[in-house]
């Protein structure tokens, strides 16, 4: 800020002539409102309606079937072994894919963080899996990659004694985890690369001069520095991977049996194959509650990373208006 501290925000606040505090507040709020109102209507309202629906017994295939059922749907959904299995699948899929993609992403980030011939190309190739349409990628994995006889994976693994394994039906959950890991590893890589590149190189240099091995400096310097970035990757990754749908729909359709039916796919089946609005809504509420637990933590991680002193300094200085009211003469002076 060029001007002296107390006068500057007030000067930003009024254009030429002094305005009242209420007016200034309204003027600042104005541009925000369209986006805020749109977001509340489109994203918040449906959650409220979901909550309402979850208390009704209602099937779209039976017109006029809507009646208040209070907690019946929750009892139905929570008492159903399919739902409990889906919860387990969701946890295993999320934990497995997050862990694997963080490790693979970390390895990629460390490899790309060095300077070497073609680093830019390698980085570009590595982010491709994150960009390719997940629905398309899932179909290709199912067919050209994982087909028991004509798939690329079994052909590559053939020399190592792997026969004609039908991955998608013999190891369905592992298959989904692998495909999700392939998709999310670049995401983790980008976050961790951001972390690595924000590390102070002179500290590493000093450690090297002091005789630390590269393993030691990774363990005691880089890893602690990466902690918050690992956290960010894990929480964001969890939030997105809990919602995994594309690959399950395309590769296994939740099967064989219900072995890859996670909560989103279970909800899809209840809503769009059985058209049971009440039960699907109850399931939706459960998924939202579970997500809120993770999201609360995620928001805390992000707010710890987040500081913006420049914008903070631009905030409307209410005390300047108070002063102005108390000493109108002096405020005029400052304005002039």
């Amino acid at each position: 800020m060029a001007t002296s501290a107390p006068a500057a925000p007030a000067a930003l606040g009024r254009r030429r002539q002094p305005t009242s505090l209420t007016k200034e507040r309204r003027r600042r709020r104005g541009p925000l409102l369209p986006a805020l109102i749109f977001t509340i209507i489109v994203t918040q309202l449906p959650f409220v309606v979901t909550l309402v629906y979850s208390f009704f017994s209602w099937n779209l295939l039976r017109p006029g079937s809507r009646e208040f059922a209070f907690l019946e749907n929750y009892g139905e959904v929570l008492g159903d072994s399919t739902t409990r299995k889906a919860l387990l699948v969701t946890v295993m899929l999320t934990a497995g894919a997050v862990l694997a993609s963080v490790l693979l992403g970390l390895a990629c980030a460390l490899l790309v963080d060095r300077k070497f011939l073609g680093r830019g190309v390698v980085r570009t190739l590595l982010i491709a899996p994150f960009l390719v349409m997940p629905a398309a990628a899932a179909l290709l994995w199912k067919t050209t990659m994982l087909h028991p006889v004509f798939g690329m994976i079994n052909w590559v693994l053939g020399p190592f004694g792997v026969g004609e394994v039908d991955w998608a039906s013999e190891f369905p959950l592992l298959t989904i985890i692998a495909v999700e890991t392939w998709h999310w590893a670049p995401f983790m890589m980008l976050i961790l690369l951001g972390g690595l590149q924000s590390q102070d190189r002179s500290v590493l240099e000093a450690a090297r001069v002091d005789g630390a091995t590269s393993v030691q400096s990774f363990r005691y310097l880089t890893l602690p520095h990466l902690r918050q970035f690992l956290e960010l990757g894990v929480v964001l990754g969890s939030i997105y991977i809990v919602q995994t749908f594309d690959s399950i729909f395309m590769i296994t359709q939740g099967g064989p049996g219900t072995s890859t039916t996670n909560l989103p796919f279970e909800l899809y089946q209840r809503a769009f194959r059985a058209f049971d609005v009440g039960e699907a809504a109850a399931l939706g509420v459960i998924v939202v509650v579970l997500t809120i637990i993770v999201a609360t933590y995620a928001l805390r991680v992000i707010s710890r990373l987040f500081t913006d002193p420049v914008v903070a300094a631009r905030v409307l200085d209410v005390s300047a208006f108070d002063r102005k009211k108390a000493e109108p003469a002096r405020a005029e002076e400052v304005a002039a």
Partner: protein
């Protein structure tokens, strides 16, 4: 990004690590490469054991998918993506302004509210969205997707645009005010041109998510408004005989976003972490 990290002390381990970098990258990229290669095959070359690397390329499969419904799906996807991205920027720019240039008092709370909406699962909202869309006859309508994709991308856009705007020095904005520029002039003549690359990057990130979205598209559209990922659902059942055709469709589906993502590479991390990392 510039200095080299002194991980390996010897030249040899450095070379090995570089080679490893290339191997991992090629391994991760291989399914994409194989998709593009298979797209140029005849079906009999695509479905072989061992897999065929040498073959006579053909455009037959592209012809087949484009005349078989993919072109209308591509048009729907294009329209939904562009319209929702335009809306996102239109709503996002003023909102970001109110959170970065002349911030309201609770700007951080609002910012985190936007972020929290991005984190809630779509499955928690899909049931009423479907029922309401059905009641107002908006099922299988591209505009339904436009509205929803706008809502999905808006938090990302607000966060990204805000972070670009906060990098514009306060002095520059003050100078234009001293010169007598109105609020509108200050925004359109000074601020927006200064963050034009940021606006472009934000738009590209929104394009990626809108183009690839599957869950809402598959639940809310059928034939008329189907987007590319919904078109691909047709290949689930016809598995077996049509790998080359599938690859051609997948290639056409994937290439636009692959290019967009590579162009916006520098800003990708800001997009996926919602501005938490620059």
């Amino acid at each position: 990004m510039n200095e080299s990290r002194t991980v390996g002390s010897s030249r040899l381990s450095g070379t090995l690590l570089s080679a490893l970098g290339w191997i991992v990258a090629l391994g991760m990229f291989f399914p994409v490469l194989w998709m593009v290669l298979t797209a140029f095959k005849q079906e009999r070359d695509a479905f072989t054991s061992p897999p065929k690397f040498a073959f006579t390329p053909t455009l037959d499969q592209f012809d087949a998918v484009l005349s078989g419904g993919l072109s209308s799906a591509l048009l729907n996807s294009l329209w939904v993506t562009l319209a929702s991205t335009a809306l996102v920027i239109l709503l996002g720019l003023p909102a970001a302004y109110a959170l970065a240039i002349r911030p309201i008092e609770k700007w951080q709370d609002v910012l985190f509210f936007f972020l929290s909406t991005r984190m809630l699962p779509v499955v928690g909202a899909i049931v009423p969205i479907y029922v309401i869309a059905r009641d107002i006859s908006m099922l299988d309508n591209v505009w339904t997707l436009v509205v929803l994709y706008t809502a999905i991308n808006l938090p990302i856009a607000v966060w990204m645009l805000r972070s670009f705007m906060s990098e514009v020095p306060t002095e520059v904005l003050e100078a234009s005010r001293v010169d007598g520029a109105s609020l509108w002039q200050e925004a359109t003549k000074v601020l927006f041109p200064m963050i034009a690359p940021g606006i472009a990057a934000t738009a590209l990130i929104c394009v990626i998510f809108a183009w690839n979205e599957f869950f809402l598209a598959v639940t809310l559209t059928a034939v008329r408004a189907q987007t590319v990922p919904v078109y691909l659902v047709g290949f689930i059942t016809s598995e077996g005989a049509f790998w080359a055709r599938l690859s051609a469709a997948a290639t056409l589906a994937a290439i636009p976003v692959l290019l967009v993502g590579w162009i916006a590479q520098r800003y990708l991390v800001r997009g996926i972490t919602l501005g938490a990392i620059k």
